[in-house]
């Protein structure tokens, strides 16, 4: 059964502006992208200066080690982390904030995450 798209709901990779007249007087920058590779699925959403990352890794490797290092590299201030291992999967949700003066794109974050996860998995399987 097809799910009806709600008004204002973004398509994959859609870039739009959100505005709530009662709360905000200015437009908020908003972007969302989803990327998939063989073993990793990443969902990155940016609203204003807040970045939410959902990560699902199909193989058990130390997700948190690699992702937390990458978040430091990207100057993302960690606010909240939740998740863990479910069978042979590991699933995490990261809430971060873009540091003042830094400029990031959802596509860049997603691409780097996929790259890091895939290379670390390749390294782990070789070891």
């Amino acid at each position: 059964m097809m799910r009806r798209r709600h008004e204002g709901e973004a398509d994959e990779g859609d870039f739009s502006t959100l505005q709530e007249p009662d709360q905000y007087s200015e437009n908020l920058r908003s972007s969302w992208i989803r990327r998939k590779s063989k073993d990793t699925e990443v969902d990155v959403r940016i609203v204003d200066n807040e970045v939410t990352i959902k990560l699902v890794q199909r193989k058990k490797i130390d997700c948190l080690v690699h992702v937390s290092h990458l978040l430091d590299q990207l100057n993302l201030d960690l606010q909240h982390v939740a998740g863990g291992h479910i069978g042979d999967f590991c699933s995490y949700l990261f809430n971060t904030k873009i540091c003042e003066g830094s400029s990031l794109y959802a596509s860049a974050i997603a691409h780097k995450l996929i790259q890091v996860m895939d290379t670390s998995f390749a390294a782990a399987s070789l070891a």
Binding site: V65, D72, N75, G84, S103
Partner: protein, 208 residues
């Protein structure tokens, strides 16, 4: 010999094979007024031409600059327009890649760090490590540490190096502190001892 219409060229396969079998040139029947060959395919050919004309008109409506109205020029202008668009796409994507590269590598970021220690002190929050046993090879830990950049990643790296695996993890930042709760176990099924683990975590926190 030139004709305004090309319909006289249309010959059915039956007629063509008949002509080749007989080995003779079949005399073409032209209508004296129109000089058109009366073919069975005439209607089909007309429909084909109409379809082609309508598609060309559609193409003409999409392409903003059309220099001439003949078919060849419409197609040529469309090709030029598409090439321009492709160049634009390429230049914009290059620009985007450059922007991403500069934002990540060369842009000087003003990292505003709150004095976390001060904040924790004001709210009466103290650094602590609590370890509880869940079962034989599973422990629950609660860690409260001062929030500093890169501290969480260093903690994760240290735990990984000591062979501690985090099963379920929760991190919250509040009042200048990291509150981390997690279920942990030994990587290769090793049994973790409460006091030993607590001391290890305490040492890790002091180091990072």
């Amino acid at each position: 010999m030139e004709y305004e219409d090309e319909d006289w060229l249309c010959v059915t396969m039956d007629e063509f094979s008949l002509a080749t079998e007989n080995g003779c040139n079949r005399k073409r029947n032209f209508d004296d007024d129109t000089k058109e060959y009366k073919s069975k395919n005439l209607e089909t050919e007309r429909r084909r031409r109409e379809k082609l004309s309508s598609r060309l008109l559609m193409l003409r409506s999409i392409v903003p600059i059309i220099t001439n109205m003949n078919k060849a020029m419409i197609v040529e202008d469309a090709i030029t327009y598409i090439e321009k668009l492709q160049d634009k796409v390429q230049s914009l994507s290059q620009e985007l890649h450059q922007m991403e590269a500069t934002s990540e590598e060369t842009a000087e970021t003003k990292i505003v760090e709150i004095d976390a220690a001060e904040d924790m002190k004001n709210w009466g929050i103290q650094e602590e490590v609590i370890v509880e046993e869940i079962n034989e090879n599973k422990l629950w830990v609660k860690i409260i540490v001062e929030k500093k950049r890169g501290r969480f990643s260093r903690l994760m790296e240290a735990l990984n190096n000591f062979g501690i695996e985090l099963i379920d993890t929760n991190l919250t930042t509040t009042k200048g502190a990291f509150l981390i709760t997690s279920f942990i176990k030994g990587k290769n099924g090793e049994r973790l001892e409460i006091h030993q683990t607590k001391n290890l975590l305490q040492d890790i926190i002091n180091d990072i």
